[in-house]
């Protein structure tokens, strides 16, 4: 019997190595696998390259640093690939100090490069960014009269995913805007680890409504962590 559920955070995080490329989805707090990020902090892997859109807001005096920002603060991140680095955020400060390297790219290009890895497309052309700094050092070719940049797939060793519901085959559904990067990173990593709010029996998800088929999922941890926090 296939059973992708793991019973502990330690089991979920088992084997993540120093130097790994880790994908972290989420848009603000919605769809962010925060419990798994805490697990990764605990697990200890360092020298990480993190593919993440939500690198965090500016520091708020007195507020506890959590999630990805905490991973950065602990010096565990070597490089970040994102569409946003905010001045005054923990990540922004680390980039400014030179302790983290940032590759900042358009958000749609980020999403498409992750999907490309999952879909077996090593590279593609896009007009996005063609006339800008993000095209520097990249190949340019014209299609239909528009300059296009050649962009490569982004593969990961590990993807952390937040689902609303999961079954023992690893079939997933997401809630509301919590879908965002979750189905994409699940496809693009060697090892896909899921935290899920709810668990259901096999067959309770109608076949048409499965959003991420279990083939993309390796481990599932049941963690009913509650709703995303309000944005400040």
């Amino acid at each position: 019997m296939i059973d992708k559920f793991v019973r502990s955070m330690a089991e979920a995080m088992d084997g993540i190595r120093d130097g790994s490329v880790v994908m972290i989805p989420g848009f603000a707090e919605v769809g962010a696998p925060n419990a798994l990020i805490d697990g990764l902090i605990e697990q200890g892997a360092t020298d990480l390259t993190v593919i993440i859109n939500a690198t965090g807001k500016p520091r708020v005096a007195g507020a506890k640093v959590t999630g990805f920002a905490r991973l950065v603060e602990l010096g565990r991140v070597r490089k970040v690939v994102t569409s946003f680095v905010r001045a005054g955020s923990v990540c922004g400060d680390a980039v400014k100090a030179g302790t983290v390297v940032a590759e900042v790219i358009p958000q749609g290009t980020l999403a498409e490069r992750i999907r490309a890895a999952g879909a077996g497309i090593p590279a593609f052309y896009t007009p996005t960014g063609a006339d800008t700094l993000v095209a520097e050092g990249k190949e340019i070719r014209e299609y239909r009269g528009r300059r296009c940049v050649l962009e490569e797939a982004i593969h990961a060793d590990v993807a952390l995913v937040e689902a609303w519901m999961a079954d023992r085959w690893g079939n997933l559904v997401f809630r509301g805007a919590g879908r965002n990067f979750n189905p994409l990173v699940a496809m693009a990593a060697e090892l896909t680890i899921v935290q899920t709010h709810h668990v259901c029996d096999l067959g309770q998800m109608p076949a048409e409504q499965v959003m991420t088929p279990g083939i993309f999922v390796d481990r599932v941890l049941h963690l009913p962590v509650g709703d995303p926090k309000l944005p400040i």
Binding site: F27, A28, V30, N53, S83, F84, V85, R86, A87, G88, G92, V95, K96, A102, V104, I105, P106, Q107, G108, T109, A111, E112, I114, R115, T126, P127, T128, G129, A130, D131, T132, L133, V134, F174, R175, G176, A177, G178, R179, N180, F181, N182, P183, L184, M211, D227, P228, K229, L230, P231
Partner: protein
């Protein structure tokens, strides 16, 4: 210009610019509203006019801001604000959401701007190639992908420097993409010949507008 002339006009407020742009969005358009003043446009589209608002994080059919006790913690927009869904809305993942943007399916995106050049070049994400904080987000995708790109911004900077230029001095978001600009002083179309003034706020003359604009304006 005399003091009395100066007092003859009053630039539009942020809400005033948003309301002005909202007037020009017809029913049936699929529209993405960028962060800042463009987001305010949503408040000025009457509910009975069916304009379908897209948000980069996978939402098509955003409704108005929810009432305090009716907030759904799973629904936010690209500005991380709580939103509601319109009846008829749909939710997709990030690659599908940007397929909507990049595939040319949006009738319009409205973006904020630092600078717009007379050929339609847009700079709205960085003040210098050396800047550490880089906030591209979805702006480059939207500027390249939407059928029309409107920019809403103050006509001049806080220091009085013009934003409508012959050529942008800040790093570009995309080249030759802007089709129309709404400022707190005027509405301007980007034409092959340059900025063409479609409307000036009451009491302001063409030459007063030109005095606040680096690019040469067409009537």
């Amino acid at each position: 210009m005399s003091t009395t002339t100066e007092q003859a006009w009053k630039p539009l407020s942020r809400d005033g610019m948003a309301a002005r742009a909202a007037r020009d969005i017809p029913e049936g358009w699929y529209v993405n509203l960028g962060i800042g003043v463009p987001t305010l446009i949503g408040n000025h589209i009457p509910a009975e006019r069916e304009v379908i608002l897209h948000s980069e994080n996978g939402v098509l059919g955003m409704g108005p801001a929810p009432e305090k006790h009716k907030e759904n913690p799973w629904l936010i927009n690209a500005s991380s604000q709580r939103i509601s869904l319109r009846v008829g809305a749909s939710l997709v993942h990030h690659a599908d959401s940007f397929a909507i943007v990049r595939g040319g399916h949006l009738d319009l995106c409205v973006l904020g701007g630092f600078q717009v050049a007379e050929n339609g070049d847009l700079a709205n994400w960085s003040h210098s190639p050396k800047e550490v904080a880089r906030q591209i987000g979805g702006a480059m995708d939207l500027a390249v992908g939407a059928k029309r790109v409107w920019v809403v911004m103050e006509h001049v900077t806080k220091d009085g420097q013009p934003r409508l230029l012959r050529r942008c001095t800040y790093p570009l978001t995309a080249g030759a993409c802007v089709t129309r600009v709404y400022t707190n002083m005027a509405v301007l179309d980007v034409t092959p010949a340059g900025f063409k003034v479609a409307e000036i706020i009451p009491g302001m003359s063409f030459s007063e507008l030109q005095a606040r604009t680096e690019a040469e304006l067409l009537r």
